[in-house]
């Protein structure tokens, strides 16, 4: 889910950036450092929407660097346990399938796929019901529920299920 959140960060600036454009340099450094990163607490920082406040700079002892505390608003994307969202399937194998929702990767294990869906290997591996009416393959859109998340330095990885009511394939790329 997307959130609009105010975060704070201490930015260190080298003296060569001081001068008339100090604030612009600070903001562009902030954008370079923060946009695209990911943390466990807030999720992916997708974009910075504004700077709320730049505090007074503090010169670091021994070096000429100055630390500025910056408060900024940003849009973050963080998946939550229990959240229902729609993802696009990227890979199917006999252990389950991988899907992507925005910058987040989700894995749905075959244990969390309804029992009446069987794995079919081949050029386009897929999961199909016994009567062939529903198929999950690459580029299918599925609605799934997140049941667990893991964060590492650069990305968030989730486990999902489609075994509940109203979950599963939304549209089939072959029939669309």
């Amino acid at each position: 889910m997307f959130f609009h959140i105010v975060l704070e960060r201490n930015m260190q600036l080298h003296p060569r950036h001081f001068g008339r454009n100090l604030r612009e340099n600070l903001v562009s450094k902030l954008m370079k450092d923060v946009e695209g990163t990911c943390s466990g607490r807030h999720g992916f920082v997708v974009a910075i929407t504004g700077i709320e406040n730049v505090g007074k700079g503090l010169i670091r002892d021994g070096t000429g660097f100055v630390t500025f505390p910056v408060k900024y608003q940003c849009v973050v994307f963080r998946p939550f346990k229990g959240e229902v969202l729609e993802a696009v399937v990227t890979m199917v194998n006999k252990m389950g399938f991988f899907a992507e929702a925005g910058p987040v990767q989700i894995f749905v294990s075959n244990h969390l796929i309804p029992d009446d869906m069987e794995f079919q290997s081949g050029d386009m591996p897929n999961y199909t019901t016994s009567d062939g009416s529903v198929k999950i393959q690459k580029d299918s859109e599925v609605r799934l529920k997140i049941i667990g998340t893991r964060v590492d330095a650069t990305e968030i990885f989730c486990i999902g299920t489609i075994k509940d009511d109203f979950l599963g394939v939304i549209n089939d790329p072959t029939t669309a």
């Binding site: 929407t49 849009v75 229990g82 252990m95 925005g102």
Partner: protein
Amino acid sequence: MSEKGGKGFSLPTKTTPKSALKSTPASATARHDDNSAKSKRGRKVQFGMEGLPNLGFNFSSPKSDGKFAIPVGKGDWAKGGKGEKVVNGGKAPVAKEAKSLELRVEQELPENVKCLMDCEAANILEGIQEQMVMLSQDSTIKLPESFHLGLQYAKTRSYYTNPQSVRRVLEALSKYGVSYSEICVIANTCPETVDEVFALVRSLEAKKSRLSEPLKDVLDELGKLKKST
């Protein structure tokens, strides 16, 4: 412990009536081989999945176990007992599982956080992208990949023409005790029936009797606001 493991399913509390896994012992051994192959890839995966005891699915770090323990198959119970999150009863895990799968956004995030619906997020991100086109003289500022993925995702998920009217319609629900994050989930998933809402947002089931009527009205209103594709 190993004797218990040897008996397989003779432990009465461990037979899960829900039986999410209807696997036979033959297929279990096949899966067991797959799992050991997978664990050899050395993927260190550790998930917060305390709400899933019925599946007996333990993603354990290779340090302790290295294998995916499944409650089918005789030898696995011994390994399952190594202090990991295992099925420990009949009824208690079922209630626990339902609870832990509820959306608990408000508890986990600080208070000044505002949930955004996908359509609102799409508007904001599109605005930023337009600004970046103007600022692109500075080639060192490049939008990260997660921005493009996020924007694409938000655009494909925005079904409504006007986010403000959606917000107003859904705000009617907040006086019934529906939290902001639950409102966002309802908006994002675009449900068509009241049953769908209760199935997708389990935390609302407690207020089912109070919410059914207002929800029906809200869903009708949302239907009118949907973009015609």
